[in-house]
């Protein structure tokens, strides 16, 4: 799949450490959605949708098998009296999913919550994507209930194939809506709902790769591969470490430099220069904006938005992927993630506070991308604000970021 290929365009990064701890993260962060519960209302609603999605898929199994085998309610004879109870549970879930999605739509479009409607989410595809999926969920759940309602009516007419399961917990209340219909109309509605449901689910699966809803899959590997190191630690650049070492201790330098040794590139200018984990991050992003809502730079009106960093990375990666699809290999398009998508002003506003990393419910680290791009700005482009230039000079000459004499470093102890 092209997503897999695209993620592998990133630089290799090995994630070692305790596998047990990694599985624990998958369990807590992805299955348990631990970080979602920092904000209670959306956490609970989201949990309904999530649980509904998983459990209703079990019902889907029966629906699909029925389709393949030409049976109806295949599981009903095996489960006996448990069957209607089970279906009743499914119906409750379907209803909670439905209601949750309606509330989600209201939060986005009526209440217009800041986090969900501003900046990079104020229009265009991201906005459509979010609404589209909510409406689809509502339609799918309604179909499920309609299907069961008609089913019950058909049972009462003793239609062929329709096993007597009795009324279903929720759909019995909408059953009267269809009770005037003839057997053939009921059959048509019931079958119609069944087909649209199936087609809807299949369409949804095909739609995933183009949507922020890919997180329902990628949240899991993302939680597994989240860094186990303290988040304050920046990735070491081995090339530069060695360069400094050889400059200070020339006897340690390798005597023979392989002729084909490529000049290392410092930091990241484009998506291919980022770690593959950052690219996985980009595909896993749900565009929820929790990162941006907690970002001190964004809160104080700076251009930086960590959510935009992730969305830009994904958009650029998709563009690079299409470029490869069309040309068999990447052909320079005179564009890059840096500058064409993310500006220096955004990058320079970051305080490296890790609030975005902490806030993200799907274990994404926007800060890594920011810092890698900053490295490129500094070391490849020498694109540095005057004050940082001065700071570097001071550190180099005075061993401190200020213009102070190094011989005064311990002056405080004598005063």
């Amino acid at each position: 799949m092209s997503i897999r290929r695209n993620i592998n365009l990133g630089k290799e990064e090995v994630f070692g450490g305790d596998a047990g701890l990694r599985w624990k993260n998958v369990l807590l962060l992805a299955f348990g959605q631990k970080k979602m519960f920092k904000r209670m209302t959306p956490a609970i609603l989201h949990f309904f949708v999530y649980a509904g999605f998983i459990i209703i898929n079990a019902e889907m199994l029966e629906i699909v098998l029925d389709g393949i085998l030409g049976t109806h309610r295949l599981f009903s004879p095996f489960l006996g009296v448990v069957y209607p109870v089970l279906l009743g549970m499914f119906e409750i879930l379907a209803l909670t999913v439905l209601v949750s999605c309606v509330i989600f739509l209201i939060r986005r479009n009526v209440l217009k919550l800041k986090r969900l409607t501003t900046g990079e989410l104020s229009g265009g595809w991201p906005k459509t994507d979010a609404n589209l999926i909510l409406v689809t969920e509502i339609v799918l759940m309604s179909l499920l209930l309609i299907m069961n309602a008609c089913d019950y009516n058909l049972q009462q007419l003793h239609a062929e194939h329709y096993a007597q399961t009795g009324p279903f917990l929720i759909s019995q209340y909408i059953a009267p809506l269809f009770s005037g219909l003839s057997e053939s109309s009921l059959l048509a509605v019931e079958r119609g709902a069944w087909w649209i449901h199936i087609i809807g689910i299949l369409a949804f699966l095909n739609y995933l790769p183009y949507s922020k809803h890919l997180h329902i899959v990628l949240a899991f590997p993302n939680a597994y591969y989240v860094s186990l190191e303290p988040v304050g630690e920046m990735n070491n650049m081995k090339d530069i470490q060695n360069e400094v070492l050889y400059a200070m201790e020339p006897d340690k330098a390798p005597t023979e430099v392989p002729a084909d040794a490529a000049m290392p590139k410092f930091g990241a200018k484009d998506v291919m220069d980022l770690s593959w984990k950052s690219l996985l991050d980009a595909y896993a992003c749900t565009e929820c904006g929790r990162c941006t809502a907690s970002c001190p730079a964004n809160i104080t009106g700076k251009k930086l938005s960590p959510r935009k960093i992730m969305m830009d990375t994904r958009d650029r990666l998709e563009e690079v992927g299409k470029n490869i699809d069309a040309n068999k290999e990447f052909v320079d398009d005179n564009k890059s993630l840096l500058h064409d998508y993310i500006t220096t002003e955004e990058l320079r506003a970051c305080t490296s506070c890790n609030a975005c990393v902490e806030a993200c419910p799907v274990s994404i680290n926007p800060l890594n991308i920011i810092l890698e791009l900053r490295r490129n700005l500094y070391m490849e482009e020498s694109n540095v604000p005057q004050e940082w230039m001065q700071m570097s000079n001071n550190i180099e000459n005075n061993m401190a970021p200020w213009k102070m004499s190094p011989s005064d470093r311990d002056a405080w102890a004598h005063s």
Partner: protein
């Protein structure tokens, strides 16, 4: 105040219990020097044999690295590790969370492995061990105090409780801001922002944070980082609250309480 350098210990042929890494702010910034001195005062009072590197200490390279200048970071790290390893240093305490983070998390990959402790944790241990005893009455007893989590001690290194335990040992009335612990809001100084003008925005990060701190009604904002201290003091000035709200490092508070 007794302060000896590593070189002096070496000349005497003795070893200190711990190296106090002062850091650039603690060495040169006038406000942060007061924190440095307060911490030394505590160490002296408790009777801990400590050393500083003195003029052999250099910037850890944290702001260079975060601004994007990896070369300079690597150079500073190389030199510092040479000095530290040359003295056979095993244990380091520092009052700066940025130095703490770099020494603890980033130097090991470069050959510098030490036990590194931030002064919040160090002070908490001394209190737990009964080596720091507060004086009768208590300078800050019952005072309304709010605590600002620095990003590099908090989120970066998951230390939230030690500084609070230190405050509680002084019997203060701790009032938390809404954005605290993992949700704490930055003071605006990290990522080398301290050394440049902020980007264009609607307000400054330190103003936003200080507003929240002042709104708790606390008379003291307790901090654990020399950069936060500077930023918050600026914020208090901006709110014209210098007369009613103080910004103090937890070491300064302890020094005044013993």
């Amino acid at each position: 105040m007794t302060v000896k350098t590593m070189a002096e210990y070496m000349a005497e042929g003795t070893e200190p219990e711990v190296l106090f890494w002062v850091g650039c702010a603690g060495s040169f910034d006038q406000r942060a020097q007061r924190i440095t001195k307060a911490f030394v005062q505590i160490l002296n009072k408790v009777g801990i044999q400590f050393a500083i590197l003195g003029q052999e200490e250099g910037c850890t390279g944290d702001p260079a690295r975060r601004s994007g200048n990896e070369f300079l970071f690597q150079m500073m790290a190389y030199n510092n590790i040479q000095v530290l390893n040359g003295y056979g240093i095993k244990k380091i305490v520092t009052a700066c969370p940025h130095c703490f983070n770099t020494l603890k998390n980033e130097y090991p990959a470069l050959g510098g492995e030490y036990e590194v402790i931030h002064h919040a944790t160090f002070l908490q241990q001394l209190i737990n061990d009964g080596r720091i005893v507060m004086k009768e009455g208590g300078t800050f007893k019952g005072k309304k105090i709010t605590y600002h989590d620095s990003c590099y001690l908090g989120r970066a290194n998951n230390i939230y409780e030690a500084p609070r335990a230190v405050l509680e040992a002084m019997d203060v009335e701790l009032v938390e801001m809404k954005r605290c612990r993992t949700n704490g809001l930055c003071c605006g100084a990290g990522g080398a922002q301290m050394f440049k003008e902020e980007e264009q925005g609607t307000t400054r990060v330190n103003f936003e944070r200080t507003k929240e701190a002042v709104a708790t009604g606390a008379s003291i904002i307790a901090a654990n980082c020399p950069f936060c201290t500077t930023m918050l003091m600026d914020g208090v000035k901006n709110q014209e609250k210098e007369d009613s709200v103080q910004v103090l490092d937890i070491a300064e508070m302890i020094a005044q309480s013993i």
